[in-house]
């Protein structure tokens, strides 16, 4: 009988993270300081992040040890299972083999705690007492609340006000894990006060919440800031997924032909695929296709330009070389809130720009159609973000049916959708809007702009 779950023993949790910067043909371009436009130095980041994370951010060492205390926490849910999607294959009647690694088994229900736990640990080690962060619908906030809870740190979370009011479940989760959660904009920060003076009814945005959390960190002794995606050290922590995945594939003597993952900031998919992209960079398995999946509403990799841009709307964060739709672009309100980011992780963008990785974009309705088929065959109800790569995997499996190819298809199943059932409900009731990015008109509008 063919194996459905490919499992590793607890002692097989990786002891090191993989840093892809060591294997890049050319070094990544540095972050620039938003004020001086000079390359960012370690001391520029010191008020915001602990030194160990800054070192990891800039490191070119291939292997970085995972502290035993972090591995010990990982044991609560890691190693995560690799599944063979046998029932989905049968439903699709495809000769392809579909695999997915299921990160929904973590306590907060996604891949996010892989870095939240590590970040909380390093902050604790350096004597930080409190972490401040932002969260949109609550996915990242709940992961950090969980991480700080285990290392006995205080945690302050600025949650976009409209989510705070309308999406209480993730907020409750954060509070169970001991975090204090405030609807942003708040009167706790100057940024928040200014916005509320102008518009007392302001429902908030992720950009405002980032600014509030950053201000909180830099104006309070013993407080640092924490970011859940995009940055190199976050991607690094997530490679624990891909390193497990490699061992799991080795165990059954399989190597993927296709890897799909959803990309919002890029940390989840980078974590799964970087150990395999590392093979490609060394000239091994050159035919492996590594494809990022994104929404047509916010098609950063498929329609954006590769340029230096700000990481946030307030232009406080460093300027990075990445694919971007412009830091002033506010993506439409799709259900996959985690994919609504104007840029992407600089490392993932560089690999895409250089042709080691590809990208594809989908509308909401076909994405939920695929996720529903997945739920009806494999049982798991995946997050709207994850549903994007489920769609890609199903499309590829269908293509294999046409051609008769027995390809190995993998997708990164990054989390469950139990807090997103309203999105499924909207899909079933025909209420989902399909968004697009009018690239031709955007280009037309940019043509005559003065070049800076």
């Amino acid at each position: 009988m063919e194996q459905i779950k490919i499992l590793l023993d607890e002692n097989e949790i990786p002891k090191q993270w993989y840093n892809i910067q060591a294997d890049l043909p050319t070094p990544p371009k540095p972050y620039l300081h938003p004020a001086t436009k000079e390359p960012v130095k370690a001391e520029d980041m010191a008020p915001v992040f602990p030194m160990e994370l800054i070192k990891q951010e800039m490191s070119t060492e291939r292997w970085i040890p995972i502290p035993e205390e972090v591995r010990d926490v990982y044991r609560l849910w890691r190693p995560t299972p690799l599944y063979r999607a046998k029932r989905l294959e049968e439903k699709l009647n495809t000769p392809a083999k579909i695999y997915y690694k299921w990160e929904g088994v973590s306590p907060p229900g996604s891949h996010k705690p892989n870095t939240a736990v590590a970040q909380a640990y390093y902050n604790m080690k350096e004597g930080v007492e409190r972490l401040a962060t932002e969260t949109g619908a609550g996915q990242w906030g709940s992961a950090l609340a969980f991480g700080t809870c285990l290392f006995d740190l205080d945690c302050t979370i600025y949650m976009v006000k409209i989510s705070y009011e309308q999406k209480p479940y993730r907020r409750i989760l954060m509070e169970i894990w001991g975090a204090e959660v405030f609807p942003s904009p708040t009167k706790r920060t100057n940024v928040g006060k200014k916005i509320l003076e102008k518009d007392p009814e302001c429902t908030g945005s992720l950009g405002i919440a980032i600014s509030e959390a950053t201000e909180d960190a830099v104006t309070h002794e013993g407080t640092k800031y924490s970011l859940g995606s995009v940055l190199n050290h976050v991607l690094l922590h997530q490679t624990v997924e891909g390193l497990e995945l490699k061992k799991q594939f080795e165990q059954i003597d399989v190597y993927p032909d296709y890897m799909f993952g959803c990309v919002g900031g890029g940390s989840n998919f980078a974590g799964q695929c970087f150990p395999f992209v590392g093979d490609k960079l060394k000239g091994e398995n050159p035919d492996l296709q590594v494809i990022s999946c994104e929404p047509t509403a916010c098609p950063t990799l498929t329609k954006g330009i590769y340029a230096y841009d700000y990481g946030d709307t307030a232009m406080l964060q460093p300027i990075a070389l990445m694919y971007t739709l412009g830091h002033d672009f506010v993506p439409p309100p799709i259900h996959a809130g985690g994919l609504r980011y104007h840029g992407d992780a600089p490392l993932l963008c560089k690999l895409t720009y250089e042709g080691y990785m590809g990208a594809v974009a989908y509308h909401q309705n076909p994405v939920f159609e695929a996720a529903t088929l997945f739920a009806q065959t494999e049982g798991f109800v995946v997050a709207p973000e994850t549903a994007h790569c489920v769609k890609a995997a199903i499309d590829e499996a269908r293509r294999c049916k046409e051609t008769g190819e027995e390809k190995i298809i993998f997708f990164a199943n990054s989390g469950h959708g139990h807090f997103d059932l309203a999105a499924y409900d909207a899909y079933h009731n025909g209420k989902l809007v399909d968004y697009e990015y009018p690239i031709d008109l955007v280009k037309q509008s940019l043509e005559k702009l003065p070049k800076i």
Binding site: G136, A137, I162, S163, Q166, K167, T203, G204, S205, T296, A297, L325, G326, F329, V330, P331, P332, P333, I334, H335, A336, G337, R340, H363, P384, F419, D420, A422, A423, D425, A426, K431, V433, D434, Y435, E436, Y437, P438, L441, V442, Q444, S445, E447, K448
Partner: protein, 382 residues
């Protein structure tokens, strides 16, 4: 004032007792006395009193928050009494026993203006809406209880019950007002099989902003006017490309014109190039003449009315000849998310079946700054 519990709202209430009577007996409307007599002869039963009653019944529990100012008999008072309201004022006494005329409606509306009602709740169709609008213009918000045969105007609740929900939200101070097209069809042409719909202007109507839908980050932090502003900003940025722009009717397109600092013909079509007005209020022939001289042209158009017609109602100057000359790839459709949520089905009726087929199917609609939605456009089968 809105939202304060001590304030007693004054609602002007008016029923067109004969609205909708022509539909069931195949007369396509009852505008004009002879058609009314014919409708009655054919056995038409008054529909609007029943519909108006539903709305008033649903509002009964809120009766202490408002007072009704109305007309005698079939034009309002009968239904008010039937539902059981005690507090109301009859401003106008109807002379004819069973039905009212457009003149009656207009006289009542003059009284509504005089008595400064907070808004007008009426039951009828496009003809009634048009008669009211002729008098009150945008001075008083109006809301329709749907009862007519023709309801292209955007002032109607979808059902009598929904009209009552909007009134309730109005009483709680939870509505905003927006412009709504007042449209009417020429009934004589319609009876001959030709649908000629004209926009008569923009009334004010209360609406409930759909700020929050259930679901992760499915919320618009923007009002309808902010959406228009965002669309206008985007359009302003891309309209500098040496193309001739044919600007259709409507308030979304007007927002673009005002961004360009151009005085737009609200109910007509204007020509713009490199952000400058070339010609105002053009007819079909004038557009075709200008197109002869232009290398590149684009059409900026927005869905019109309650049915969401993109071509064929209210924008007749942009005929099928004009569209073919410009090319369907050069049509840019724009609409606010709110408008699209109200009109889930969009339609085209250019009078050229082949062209309508080409325009139908999935189309991109600009809904914000660098944001578009994909929507299905259907053929008009009505």
């Amino acid at each position: 004032m809105a939202g304060s519990s001590s304030y007693m709202y004054k609602i002007g209430f008016l029923v067109n007792p004969i609205a909708g009577m022509g539909g069931a007996v195949g007369l396509k409307g009852t505008d004009g006395k002879s058609y009314l007599e014919e409708a009655i002869k054919r056995g038409a039963i008054p529909l609007s009193p029943r519909k108006a009653k539903v709305t008033l019944q649903k509002l009964y529990e809120y009766r202490h928050d408002f007072t009704l100012l109305t007309c005698s008999g079939v034009m309002g008072e009968n239904i008010i009494k039937e539902v059981g309201y005690k507090k109301y004022t009859v401003l106008y006494h109807l002379e004819g026993p069973n039905y009212s005329t457009a003149e009656d409606t207009k006289k009542v509306c003059n009284l509504f203006l005089e008595f400064k009602v907070d808004f007008i709740l009426f039951c009828g169709g496009d003809g009634t809406a048009r008669d009211i609008f002729t008098v009150v213009r945008e001075e008083i918000p109006i809301l329709g209880i749907p009862a007519g045969v023709k309801m292209h105007s955007a002032v109607f609740g979808i059902t009598p019950k929904i009209s009552s929900e909007i009134v309730k939200m109005f009483l709680k101070g939870k509505t905003e007002t927006q412009e709504a097209e007042i449209m009417d069809t020429d009934e004589n042409l319609y009876r001959k099989g030709r649908l000629q719909t004209k926009i008569y202007g923009y009334a004010k109507t209360p609406y409930v902003p759909t700020l929050v839908q259930a679901g992760k980050s499915i919320f618009y932090n923007e009002s309808d006017s902010e959406s228009k502003e965002n669309i206008a900003q985007f359009a302003y940025e891309f309209m500098n490309d040496d193309s001739l722009y044919i600007l259709g009717a409507g308030t979304t397109i007007e927002a673009i014109a005002s961004k360009l600092k151009i005085k737009k013909t609200l109910l007509g079509v204007d020509l713009v190039k490199n952000r400058k007005l070339i010609m105002a209020d053009v007819n079909e022939k004038e557009i075709l003449d200008v197109l002869e001289k232009e290398k590149k042209a684009k059409i900026l158009i927005s869905p019109i009315g309650a049915q969401g017609f993109i071509f064929g109602r209210g924008n007749q100057q942009i005929s099928h000849q004009v569209i073919k000359k410009v090319g369907i790839d050069n049509i840019i459709i724009l609409a606010t998310p709110y408008k699209l949520s109200k009109t889930p089905i969009l339609l085209v009726d250019t009078g050229d079946e082949e062209l309508d087929k080409k325009l139908s199917g999935y189309q991109r609609i600009i809904t914000g700054y660098r944001i578009a939605q994909r929507h299905q456009i259907g053929l008009n089968t009505a």
